[in-house]
C-alpha cells in the first residue's frame, strides 16, 4: 500500500518534470521568435518593410507570432493532458 502510494507520487513527479521540460522548450522557441521580431523592429526596421505576398514582413511576422501562440498553447495542453 505504502509502496503503491510512493510509486504514484514518484510517477506524478516524473510527469510534472516531463511537462515542465516540454513547456520550457516551447517557451524558449517562442521567445526566440519574439526576440527576433523585436530586434528587427528595433534595429533592422528595413527587414519588416520587405514585401511578402502582397503584405510585408512586419505584418506577416506579427500575425505569425499571434497564431504560433495559439498553436503552442494547444500543443502544450495536448502533451500535458497525455502526461497526466
Amino acid at each position: 500500500m505504502v509502496d503503491d502510494r510512493l510509486d504514484d507520487s514518484m510517477a506524478r513527479r516524473e510527469a510534472e518534470r516531463r511537462k515542465f521540460r516540454v513547456g520550457f522548450a516551447l517557451f524558449v522557441v517562442y521567445m526566440v521568435g519574439y526576440t527576433l521580431f523585436t530586434l528587427a523592429g528595433t534595429f533592422f526596421r528595413g527587414i519588416l518593410t520587405v514585401r511578402l505576398g502582397g503584405l510585408n514582413v512586419g505584418v506577416v511576422s506579427g500575425m505569425l507570432i499571434i497564431v504560433s501562440a495559439i498553436v503552442i498553447a494547444v500543443l502544450y495542453n495536448w502533451f500535458a493532458g497525455k502526461t497526466e
Partner: protein, 488 residues
Amino acid sequence: MDYSFQPLAFLLFAIIVGVTLAISFWAARRVKTSSHYYVAGGGVKWLMNGIAFAGDYLSAASFLGIAGLIAFSGFDGFMYSIGFLAGWVVALLLVAEPLRRMGKYTFGDALVSVFNSKRVRLAAAVSTLVVSIFYLIPQIVGAGSIVQPLLGLQYEVGVVIVGALVILIVATAGMVSTTYVQFIKGFLLLIAALGLTVGVLIVAGKDPVSFITTILDGNVLLPGGTTVTGDVFLSPGLKYKNPLDFASLALGLILGTAALPHVLIRYYTVPTPADARKSTVVAIGAIGVFYILTLFLGLGANYFRTYDATNQNLSAPLLAYFIGGEIFFAFISSIAFATILGTVAGLIMAAAGAIAHDIYTEYLGNERSDAVILRMSKMTAVGVGVLAIVLGIVAKGQNVAFLVGLAFAIAASANLPALLCTIFWKGAKERGIVAGIWTGLISSIFLILISPTVMGAGAIFPLENPGIVSIPLSLAVTVLLSITEKKG
C-alpha cells in the same frame, strides 16, 4: 457624427446594464464566505474561466485603444496586439499551474506560501494595488470616452456612471458576478469584433490580404492631417521614433501579462492546476483571434476615415457607425461598455484583495470572523471604485492602450521577477524578493514620471515605456540580494 442622445443606443445600453446588474444580484445569494467573494469558491469550470479570462483581459485598451492606435499609428499600434497576446505564452508555460498550487486568493498568497514573510506580503500587496490602479485608469477613461457619443452625456458623467455600476457589481457578489459578467462580455466582444471585421471587408469589397495590400500600395492620411505611404504606415516608427521605445514596449508587454494581479487571481477560481492550464489555453485561443481582428478594425477606421482626431478611443465605435449605422454603433458601443464593466470589476477585486486580505487581515493580523472580513472586503471595493472614478476624470483624453502599456511595464518590473524566482529558483531569498518588488515598482513609476509621457519634450528619461530598464533592474536586485545573503 454628432454626439447627441441616441434612443436606440440608450436602449441597448440599458439592456446590457440591466442584465449585468441582474446577474450580480442573483449571484450575490451564492456569496457566503470570503472564498466565494475573492475566488468564486474556486469552483469555476475551466471553459467558462477561459472565456472569462478573455473577458477580463480584453479591456477597453484592447477594443477601443488598439483600434485607435492602429488607425493613428499603423504598425506601432499593431505591436500592442502582438505583445498583449505573447504575454499569455509566459503565463501558460511558466506560471499557470505552479501558481494554482501555491496560492489562495492573491499574488501575495503565492509568494508567502514559500517565504512566510510579512515583508513579502506587504510588498506584494502594495504592488498589486499600484498595478491595479494604473490599469483601472485607462478603463475608466475608456468608459468616459464611449458614453459621450453613446448617450450624449459628458465625459465626467460617463466616468461616474461606470464607476457606480462597477461598485454595485463588485460590492454585491465579488468574483462570482464578476466571472459571469466577464464570460458574457468576452463572448459578445468576440462576436462584435468579428462582425465589425466582416463589415469592413464587405464595405471595402476586399478579402483580408488584398485589403492590407491596398493600404500598403497607397497613401495613408493620418488623423493629424499629414500623409504617409502605406509602407511607412505599416512599418515600425510612426509612434515610436526612438527604436529602443519599440524594444521597451515589446519587453513590457510579453512579461507583463503573467504579472497582472487581476489575471493571476483568476487562476484561483478553478479547482485544479490542470483546470488553470486548460482555461489559459481557451483564453489564448479567444484572445489571439480577437487581436488578429483588431488589425482590421484599426486599418478599417483609417481606410474609411471614421476617426475623431481628438479622441483615438472612438475609432472602433465610429467605424461601427459607418459600417452599420446607429444600430451597429449602439451594439458595438454597448459591448465596449460591458467590456469596461467586466475588466474594471476584475481590477477592483484584485485591489480589494490586496487591501482587505493581504494588508488588513494577514499583514496587520486582524483575526476576524469571515462575515467581518467579507464586509471589510466589500467596503474596500467601494473605496477603490471611488478612487478609480476620481483618477479617471483626471486622466481624460489619454489613449487607453498606451496607458495600459505602462501598467504592463510596472507589473512586469515589480511582480514577474519575484514570481518566477519564487516558483523556479530554490536560491531565492526573502530579502531578494522584497527588494526586487520595491525596486521594480519604484523604478518603473519613477521612469514614467521623468519620461516624455509626463514631462513632454524636456523629459530626462528618453523612452515612453520604462520596461527595458526597470525589468532587468528588478531581476538583478532580486538575484543579487538573494545570492549575497549569508547562510544561517
